[in-house]
Each structure stands twice: as C-alpha cells, then as structure tokens.
Amino acid sequence: MPLQIQDFGSVCCKRYGMLVQSELTNNKSQMTNEGRPLNSKERVKAAMDIRTPDRVPLMCQMSIGHMLQQLPVSPVEFWFDGDTFAEGLLLLREIYGFDGILISLHGHDPNWRNQIVERSNSEDGEVVRLKDGATMIFGNDDLPQVVGQEAPKLRLTEINSEDLPTSLDYIPVSQGLHFRIDPRNKFGVINTIVQKAGKEFSIHGEITSPFDYFLDLLGHQDGLMALIDDPEKSKEILEHFTRLIEKLAVEMCDTGIDAIKVSSPFAGAGFISPDFYEEFIAPFEGRISQSIRKKNVHVYLHTCGAVGDRLEMMFASGASGIECLDPPPLGNVELDHAMQVASRKGFVKGNVDSVNTLLLGTDGDIMSDAKSRIEIGKKAGGFILSTACSIAPRVKREKVLLLKEAVERWG
C-alpha cells in the first residue's frame, strides 16, 4: 500500500506573526523562457548554477530518525525496502514543500525479505536477525543499531591490495553500520524517484567520501593515526576507494539526477588539520567532483562541524557547491563569511542549526535564523536554504514547515 499524504492529517501551515497570504505570493517571479514561473527543479538548478532564482530554494536533508518519526511506516521496511523508502521520500517532500529530494541510500535488494531469518519485538524496537549472522534493532527515531561486537578492524600494516574491495557494495552509514548495495539494483530507488518527481523537483543522490571508507576500514582512531604512521600507504588506500567511488558516482549520474552530495563527515577541524585536508581529502574528493561535473551533474561537499579554516580548499576542489556549514556552537561557519569565500565560485547550501534552532529553539528563533540566512544568501546568489546537518529526529513537523514559510515570505 503506497504511503499517502492523507495518512498524516492536514499539513500544518502555521502563520507566523502578522504574515498574511498576500505576502506569501508576492514574489517577483523570475520566469522561464516559455513565460511560466520556475518550477522547483529549475529553481534549485538556478541556485546551483549560481544564478538568482525567483526565490531562494529550500531543500533539507533529513535524518533517518526524522523520516521515521514523520512516516507511518515500519522502520525495518523503510530501511530495507526500496519502494517504501522512495514513497517515504516523495511524501516527505510533499509535506514539507521542499524543492528537491536527497536520496541518502541506494542499492536496495528487492529480495531483502529472503535475507531475514527472524523478526521479533523488544522494548527498544523490532529485532531482525539476518542470514549473515548479524542482529539489528530498529527503533523508530534513529538508524538501526547493529548488536554485538564490531568485527575487528584491519591494521594498516596488515592491509594488502587483495584486502580491499574490488567493487563498492556497501555504504558506511555510521559507526558499525553498513548499508549493502545490491549490484543488480544499484540505483532502483533513484530511478523510481526520478521517474515520479524528476521533472518537477531537483533529485540528488549521495555518495560517501574515500576518507569515510578509509576510516571505516581501519577504525576511526587507527585510521587517523595511519595518516601519520604511513601517509603513502594511506594515500594508496584512499586512491583505491576514490577509483571505486568515482565509478559509482559516474554511473549514478546516468540515472537523471540533478546533483550528487559527497558525504564527508570526518574532514572537519574536529578531526584533522587544514594541512591534512589538503593532503588526504581535497585531491580525492576533488577528482570525484570533477568526474561528476564532466557528466554535467552538480556535486556538493558535505562536511560537518568546524570547516571555517578550509572553505577555500573546499571551493577549490572542483565541486559546484558545499553544504552543511554548521554555525556556532556546533561548527564555526557564519554564512556571510562563507558567501564571501564562495564569491560565486560555488553555491552554498545551509546553514540553519538543526539542533539549537530547529530542535531546541522557538518559532521566533527559527524564523529569525531563516530570515537572516535568506537575506544573506539571496543577496549573494547561489544559495539554497537548508538545515546545516540533517534535520534531527525529534524536530517537530511544524518547525520544519516554518522554513517553507520563511522562503516564501523573504526568499
């Protein structure tokens, strides 16, 4: 049974302050050559092309936990089943009025039920035992948790080229959690969404950075030390993953998506220095970015936390934009500074604080933060309003809807 918006009751369109309907529709709309207003896809494209669209586009990434909180769906089905995942993303876009959809997972196995040995319930959620011996617990507000000890990681000195994967059949989603990519259905979910919404909305795929795969292979602490212990071997491994990711990304471009996000959560100042960024991140992410751009698809880098000291390098990588840009206290990026650094070299997608503003802030905080960002971004051009990092699981729907109201009012 497909998910339907009626399942959620009426979508709350809360008014803010003295806002009236006429203000919502009083945009000076940029028209297309055919004389009609831009649709969402064109609006996001204009921003990614560093032009000024009719209004600032809105497009946030959502944590899996947030999606589960908003959808009447089994967390197990949502994780494993590509059709359910696609329907959920389409529905959430409709609820929130986003101008695009980020497809954060891909490669769902259509026969995933065959991989499950047992399903049972516990107080922490549904427990799934898989044929490969893994046990996962699926709560309704977070990623699934893999139970038991993580498999021992390889040591840098022990790794030979034959230990490295020859094709990319997993996504390192979180510590200890992989999402398996079915090689026969790598982009099924993307194809579905592009087919259903790709004409009107901006559809973005996601790949994970070589550095993430590297840390996942070695373990975070050993991986970080490896950069000093044996930088050349570290680079060989990064190079290996770069080739695989580049291939996957180029294939992904052929699905008809508008952009690809490169997820690189460990490349900020909370982990490595700007020098290390230049040595171990920029060359590899840069190569992937350039390959994607050659396919005429946009690409943007997503690095969490403090990145203020490496914005120049991120923009110089060849990516068409960057996103996240966590403001203080989670990060250290102020939007006006980022826009100055961007200086029309790339688009910027961000940077409303998902935790302190959206989760913990008042309606007034949200509108005020959104307004200030819209004003800065609109003036500079090449801006998409978004939360910095993912919308946190427990953020209320009404809070997210305020962002839509903000772009319609001030964008």
């Binding site: 936990g65 922490d124 709560g139 507000d141 977070d142 948790q145 893999v146 979180s174 510590q175 200890g176 975070h220 602490q221 970080l224 030390m225 950069l227 000093i228 212990d229 100042a269 909370g270 982990f271 490595i272 220095s273 290390f276 936390g305 206290p329 989670l330 935790v355 302190n356 989760l359 913990l360 946190a392 699981p393 427990r394």
Partner: protein, 216 residues
C-alpha cells in the same frame, strides 16, 4: 645524562608521538631506579600537558593527539605494574561511557585520552550504557566524577534518565555530560554538574569539580 634531561626527552617523545622511543626511555629510567611515579609526573604528564594545550589551541588535531596517547600508553604499560602498591596517587578516577542507544565513542575516547594524560585513572564503560551499568560501575570503582557522552539528539535525552536514576540511588558525585549536540543550557536543564565543548575543556572542568569537592 642527567635525569631531568631524560624526563625532557620522554616528554618530547610523547609530544612527538614516538611510542617506541617512549617505551625505551621509560625502560631506561626504570633501569636507573627512578620511581615509576616520578617518571609519570615528570615525563609523561608534562608531555601530555603540552599536547592538551596544543590541541585546545588548534595547533594540533586528533591524529597527533592519538599518536601521543599511544606513546603514553606504551610507557604506562611498563609503569603500571610497578606502580601497584607504590603509594603513588593518581589525581582521581573518572567513570566514562556513551549512553544507551548510542554507539559513537570517538568523543568519549578523546576525553579519556586527555584525562589519562593529565594523571587521572579512567574507567571506560564503553558504548550503549544503561543507567544500571553506570550505577554498577560507580559502586565498583568509586569514581570522583562520572562522564556521560552522546552524539545523537535522540540519545542525549537519556542522559537525564541516567542522572535522575543515579541521584535516586544516592550517587552524589559530580556527573558531567558531553557530545556534539550538548550545550550548557541542556546540561543545566537535566541537572548535570557541567559540560565542556571539547576534551581539553573537559579536563579543566573535572579538575575544577574535584577541587570544589575537596574544599567542601
């Protein structure tokens, strides 16, 4: 070579993250009959103090901190068996863990490293820790402070459950909280004794809390 010079060399080995050299220097000092407590106080801790300050000031980053911690561990592996019964007192004991539902441990591990580098004993309960596990750990190890870590906004709310439970069980020692989404306002709201933005600040906070306890 004077003993002070050897302490400086040991501190430098820790700062540079040279674990083999740190181990060798430690063995040499032991062979010269230097008490293990003195090696710790005059070589390892001054080295880690420099590391902590450079980390706080963004002069070095996690990879450098981690290799320094590895060097200190190489030395402590030699010292620890010799320190048992030697009468040497550490600054205090911290009981750390990532709260239930959360398996992220990088932040907690860095705090652990910085605390050990500042002369504290750390009992690490690991990840996905229930309130009962913290209570059991507190009963077993008699820590001077308990540190709760969470990366996720969904799991940080469990910190309050743990604090309420521990207080209801008459655990009165300071409890501090940390993690990316945690801030002072949240810490105050859930009744924690403090929070810190990074590992270096966490050490300063714990030192301050322990000093206040002693004064009281």
């Amino acid at each position: 070579m004077g003993i002070d010079k050897e302490f400086v060399m040991l501190a430098d080995a820790v700062i540079a993250g040279k674990h083999i050299e740190a181990g060798d220097l430690t063995s040499k000092l032991i062979d010269e009959s230097v008490p293990p407590g003195e090696i710790l106080e005059n070589g390892l801790l001054p080295g880690m103090d420099v590391v902590g300050k450079r980390f706080r000031d963004n002069q070095i980053f996690l990879p450098q901190v981690l290799i320094s911690a590895r060097a200190m561990k190489a030395s402590m592996k030699i010292l620890e068996p010799l320190m048992v019964g030697s009468g040497h007192k550490m600054k205090g004991t911290a009981l750390l863990g990532t709260v239930k539902g959360d398996v992220h441990d990088i932040g907690k591990n860095i705090v652990s490293i910085m605390l050990q580098g500042n002369g504290y004993t750390v009992i690490d309960l690991g990840t996905d820790c229930t309130a009962e596990k913290f209570l059991s750990g507190a009963g077993q190890h008699h820590p001077d402070v308990i540190g709760l870590s969470a990366l996720l906004t969904t799991t940080m709310v469990y910190m309050k459950t743990i604090i309420d439970f521990l207080r209801s069980q008459q655990v009165s020692i300071p409890i501090i909280v940390g993690g990316a989404p945690v801030n002072q306002k949240f810490a105050d709201e859930i009744g924690a004794n403090g929070t810190a933005r990074n590992a270096a600040e966490a050490v300063e906070l714990i030192t301050k809390l322990m000093s206040e306890r002693k004064e009281n």
